[in-house]
Amino acid sequence: MDVSPAIQEDQKGWTEVIAPTSSPFDLHLADVWRYRDLLMLLVRRDFIATYKQTILGPTWFFLQPILTAITYWVIFGQIANLSTENLPALLFYLPGITLWNYFSECLNKTASVLKDNAAIFGKVYFPRLIMPLSIVVSNLVKLGIQMFLFLVIWAFYLFAGFKGGAIHPNLTICLIPFLIIVIGGLGLGFGMVISSLTTKYRDLIFLLSFGVQLLMYATPVIQPLSAVKGKWRLLFLANPMTSIIETFRYAFLGTGSFSINGLLYSTVFMVVVLFLGILIFNKVEKSFMDTV
């Protein structure tokens, strides 16, 4: 942990030293790996617990995005008349909703991870990083199921076609796993930064849900980037989620835009936020039991 030579000398034969402070770069990654079974069991718990005692069970995984898409279609498509780039509404909204949900759930759940699990953290030690990681993986499972729904609808339109156009999938599809990793990293990174701050300053929790909602409107979820003009476009471009959702639509539907620079920006953004998040989380995790 501490690295001064005198202490290293002292450490001989000891497997562990508990001290007031330790290096912020000591991430206990070996420990995290040793507890990988716990991660998978937590994912399983989340999955079972969420839909226990609901009549429709995991069907809700499908219903949520479809109901949201219908709402958006009515409000933004019909009433506000925002463009769907001549695509059927369901096909246009679903990718944005699914990906955004993945991001926002990773973010929201991670942001309150220390508070939510204070009871467990106060009683047992395990690498704290396991908890946020399990959130990301849990949501990944959910994302996978919703992706499947999207693929079914997508395949239907692909082969049956629709009035006034067609969809043009292309090789960019190969980038999808990468896109999903970037989203997960962004949600995790942002979430960990916020979670660490909320242990002391709880006001942030209230700001967060509002902020995430607001951020969605600065993401091409309800309208394509091409429809955003003027100074607002800059805001959209600064949002790391923008290029990801645009790329995703481009890959499957052939509409929207594909920009290597945009993707690169999102990736660098993700790496920085994730790194920062892990560092802060790692620091706060050691003492938060006294302040939470």
Partner: protein
Amino acid sequence: MSAVIKVEDIGKLYRLGEVGTGTLSHDLNRWWARMRGKEDPFAKIGESNDRTQKGTSEYVWALKDVNFDIEEGEVLGIIGRNGAGKSTLLKILSKVTRPSEGRIKVRGRIASLLEVGTGFHPELSGRDNIYLNGAILGMTKAQIKSKFDEIVEFSGVNRYIDTPVKRYSSGMYVRLAFAVAAFLECEILIVDEVLAVGDIEFQKKCLGKMKDVSQNTGRTVIFVSHELNAISSICRKGILMHNGRVAANDTIDKVIGQYLSQNTNFDTYWENTDDKYDNPYFKPSKFYLVKENKQVSSTSFGVNERIGVVLEGTVTKVDPALTLGFAVFTTDQKLLFWSNHTDGKQENWIEIKEGQVRLIGWIPRNVLNEGNYKVELMTSVHYKEWITEPGKNAPVISLDVAGGLDTSPYWQIPRPGIFAPLLTYEKW
């Protein structure tokens, strides 16, 4: 034998009162001090941890200058009053929270049981919860799998293993939870007050398992409990914590002895130093407790010990209605009983003559359960006037009853209730 845990100068500073207000300014102050390379400005004003004293500082040392070693295979008991720092120490050892100063060196893997059933999810089945809880405690899935049958067997809930635990009775719940913990694989095990769960039969099973773990597997165990009987039967060495410091570090019997003798909250000896209770009949002078051998005692009594309540005074005017006795209260002022020297047949009463008088009233063994009591002197001229009236103006001494439960193997830990009578049963 070599030390597997070395605790060096451990201290833990806590902030009292409402955490969350003014922390930003404190944080900034701290940060500024650190930038200048100075000490934490709030740590200096921290005081020792004594919950009865209202301190002047917002910060308090829950632990200070704690030093001890634990040898391999040793079974160490940690005792102390509430708030003495036991749990804080365990939390630091379990890596749940960090010390504010000092360091602890560890050889081997520590598993801690500060609570049974941590992370149990009510919606999951018993089976799923065994895996989840085991993994939280640090076992791998394979390890749990290999012990699964033993765990279920030990818990005795085989029939409900695939039922969600929210449908379990609270007893079944803790049985299952303890069973997982009992089969932990680790070199050092930390256990905090978790034995007080389940019914008597299961408590005994847990105690047996604890003994087995500590004696037969050669594991190092640290055990915190208020149940002195359990502690003394499991541990060989002990540490007594007092106000955040180590007050004693010795064999378990010596440490328990010291704990019991320090465990006196009020005076156990009253003397009429202010010349109070002026009246024509009787003037009390002393009021105290003695052990069976009539030695004055300021320590606690075992449940199985007779308690002698001694009243001394001077009779200045003989009155046939003069009654001397005492009343026993719980610490929350609930009256348990009155007793007078004039109880029973009149010809058996002790004759009270003018001059010095000294009486002992014996509270039989196995009447009062473990706990703290107040004994008040009760004297009056019957139906005429009070001299010392219990609950109003009477002298008070405190009576502690602790330990002495070992009459039955099924009565190893305290029972609920004020009384602990030993009744006889017969076939009928």
